[in-house]
């Protein structure tokens, strides 16, 4: 058939299509909020301030990336915050302040526990086919329970070198080159780059392709011969690794474990995913956009702080901004459904 679809004038169509991409509105929103924050916060572009910004949003960025992988695979993780708390508690329980080698043990033990939590979620979601909301809601209480058992109140010990995950300059006994390197690139950024690298590699393999396929239409994926259970299990494992990285940062920063610190981050990570234009229905969106989503949420908080909005209205205003941020991707999705 010779009929090529005749398209209307190129720039018009390009712009219209661009606006219908869920990513576009996220990036525009990011641009606007970035501008406002930079305007309100006088020292925004100073090195110190940039490092502070990265540090303040690192846990949310890492959690949101993990959450994004699970959401794209057709699931959702309501236990990520609790898992984060649990990992910090395990790290600080295994470590003894005066015995540097315990830090290595702690890393190993916690990494295995992280894989375990991912595996349990993946088992429920992928193989037992229990609705993800229910599986992860249940496991969130399990993780919280174990964390509270280990550490009823915030505290615990940490080896001093664990600070490398927060600020390399204050750690003694590490090579000078690493210390200099750490001065220029904050460890938090390295952790995020690590997570990005992990996803980049996965996305170039079969598993990455299948995560999208399963989330988009699980039945079609199944009849195409894809092992859907394994795929969703993998998504949960990647998520667990991202949460593990966030835990490293948190313990590096605070040198303590806290069974309740992660709780509020769960819903924020889901919000970041949505703001980043990733469809909660699965199969659509980019994991990297979850970073943008997390940054948007972080900027909302800053803007409210720097704009001197009265205490009583802060929550309301941040709610309105978040709704505006979600409206863009939602509209794009709606348009697509109608099409």
């Amino acid at each position: 058939m010779e009929v090529m679809q005749k398209r209307t004038v190129f720039p018009v169509v390009f712009l219209r299509n661009a606006f219908l991409q869920p990513e576009t509105s996220g990036l525009i929103m990011f641009g606007i909020l970035f501008g406002i924050t930079a305007f309100l916060q006088k020292n925004f572009f100073e090195t110190k301030s940039i490092v502070r910004t990265i540090n303040s949003c690192a846990p949310l960025v890492l959690l949101a990336m993990g959450q994004a992988v699970v959401v794209i695979s057709g699931g959702i993780d309501l236990s990520s915050g609790a898992a984060l708390s649990l990992f910090t508690c395990i790290l600080t329980t295994v470590m003894k302040q005066n015995d540097p080698i315990t830090g290595v043990y702690a890393l190993l033990v916690t990494f295995l526990v992280a894989l375990g939590t991912g595996m349990i979620n993946g088992l429920g979601i992928g193989y037992l086919r229990i609705p993800p909301v229910i599986v992860t809601f249940a496991t969130s209480y399990a993780w919280l329970g174990i964390a509270l058992f280990l550490r009823p109140t915030p505290g615990g010990e940490s080896v001093p070198w664990f600070r490398v995950f927060y600020n390399m300059r204050v750690v003694e006994g590490i090579p000078e080159t690493l210390r200099v390197f750490g001065t220029y690139i904050p460890p938090a950024l390295l952790l995020i780059i690590g997570a990005c690298l992990l996803w980049y590699l996965v996305s170039k393999t079969r598993v990455g392709r299948y995560i999208y396929a399963v989330g988009s239409n699980i039945e079609s994926a199944y009849v195409s011969g894809i092992n859907t259970g394994k795929t969703q299990m993998f998504a949960c494992l990647i998520n667990a690794i991202c949460i593990f990285l966030a835990a490293l940062f948190f313990v590096g920063q605070n040198q303590t474990g806290d069974a309740r610190m992660g709780g509020p981050l769960t819903l924020r990570s889901i919000a970041a995913v949505v703001v980043g234009g990733i469809a909660l229905a699965g199969g659509r969106g980019s994991v990297y956009m979850a970073i943008v989503g997390a940054l948007i949420l972080n900027f909302v908080g800053r803007i409210i702080f720097f704009a001197n909005i009265p205490n009583a209205y802060q929550t309301l205003v941040s709610g309105i901004i978040v709704i505006a941020a979600i409206a863009g991707p939602a509209y794009a999705t709606l348009k697509r459904e109608l099409h």
Partner: protein, 517 residues
Amino acid sequence: MLGAIPSTLFEKGRKTLVVLEAKGVRKYFGGVVALSDGNLRCCQGRITGLLGANGSGKSTMSKIIAGVYRPDGGEIWYKGRQVHYRNPKEARKDGIALVFQNLSLVPDLTVWQNVVLGMEKSRGIFLDDREAKEISRRILKRLLPGLDVSRKVYELSPGEKQIVEIAKAIAENPKLLILDEPTAALEQAQVRNLFAYMRELAQSGVAIVFTSHRLWEVMEICDDVTIFRNGATVAYIDFAREAKDPEKIVNYITGEAKENLPREKERLRERLSSETLLRVRIQSRTKSLQDGLSFELGRGEILGIGGLAGQGQSELLYALAGSHPKIRCEVEMSGRKILVRCPQDAIQNGILLVPGDRQQEGLFLEHSVYSNMIFPKLGLPRHPTLIPERKYREECMDVVQLLSIKLPGLDAPVNTLSGGNQQKVVVGKWLSFNVQVFLLADPAKGVDIGAKRDLYEYIKRLAREQGIGVLLYASDHEELAHYADRVIIMYEGRIVATLLGEDITEEAITAASVRVR
């Protein structure tokens, strides 16, 4: 009749390899016989056509071969050994590919990602995307020139999706390729491309099974045809030996001169004397139903809608019920113009739909019979705030007795009832309304014979005694022949034939449905 299948095949003095041979295959769904004696032989390098009316068993046969269903009896031999596939994956491994009807595509992946989905090749640890793109480009260039393989599948038209589906099956390099009605969604030019490619594949040694409702397509592309009727293979025609005779094939499909069941001869007279109840004109913004299609329905008339499956019949019924987003209708009832913009408009005017998929659209399966029956009333304007429980229960009991619904009690969940009784509940929930027009979409699907007769007899009585109009779509043409006073045949969203009085026979309806070109 089966003696017609030769035991060995010689073509130009060369023995042709039999790739697949199915003998006496049986399949039951619940108590319903889908296939009682399925026989099929596919040879290397040949295109075999499967023909038959709706529900004749040809689709079931294809799915059994591809491992989607497991047969309840009979033998299947593939490349010289007996096979028992438990799932499609096993069949695929052996080189049997079935083209699903838009079942296996993932909407959010691109065309090329879909074509290789499930059989991606890697180079090192990473996926080899370049080769995947090349494979899909090579295949799709033939089937759909001009398609950008980087487009997402959700953006494609139904026809394009169907072609990608076919490309996906071809990309597996199958030895036996089963195409189950691949042309239903395609345009003429696309069909030409497909046929050219099919011929080329056959020449390279692939055995192809091709199912279509369009007789001319089968006559054009196939080397031989196997014809199914009522779940059994009734004929095998090798076009190399026998002439392509459409009359003969239609006779095989419909079955020659069945004994005519006693029919009411007064139907025609009654129809002519009756006044017009409904005048309908369609304003359609979709291809599935022609814009401007119009028809009339008489008071007390049962108007049958026939034709092949999926030719716009259900869209027509949904539009009339106000439930189709892209189709509006101008409706004139007893000379008065009425607006049908949403289901509530239709219900208030007494236009009531019994949807085809009762489990999804007609019932709340986990809820009680009582709840299901009163749900439609609750949405009416001026419904009392408090539900008049006792009154409603009495009304429900009346309906249960009227339709002789067999149930343990009004509070039993609907899914504990048999299919026939469930369907009676769907019909029954409308009976306390002021019924003017009943829209029935395949009301007897999955309903046992007794309940089916009850249901149709009741609806006929309702039409005759209370003068309501009935629009009946049934994929089983026998039901239409039995109960309809007039039958319109639909094809690609248009009305292509109208049958009246003596002409309404199962054979005539099927013939009118398939002989359209």
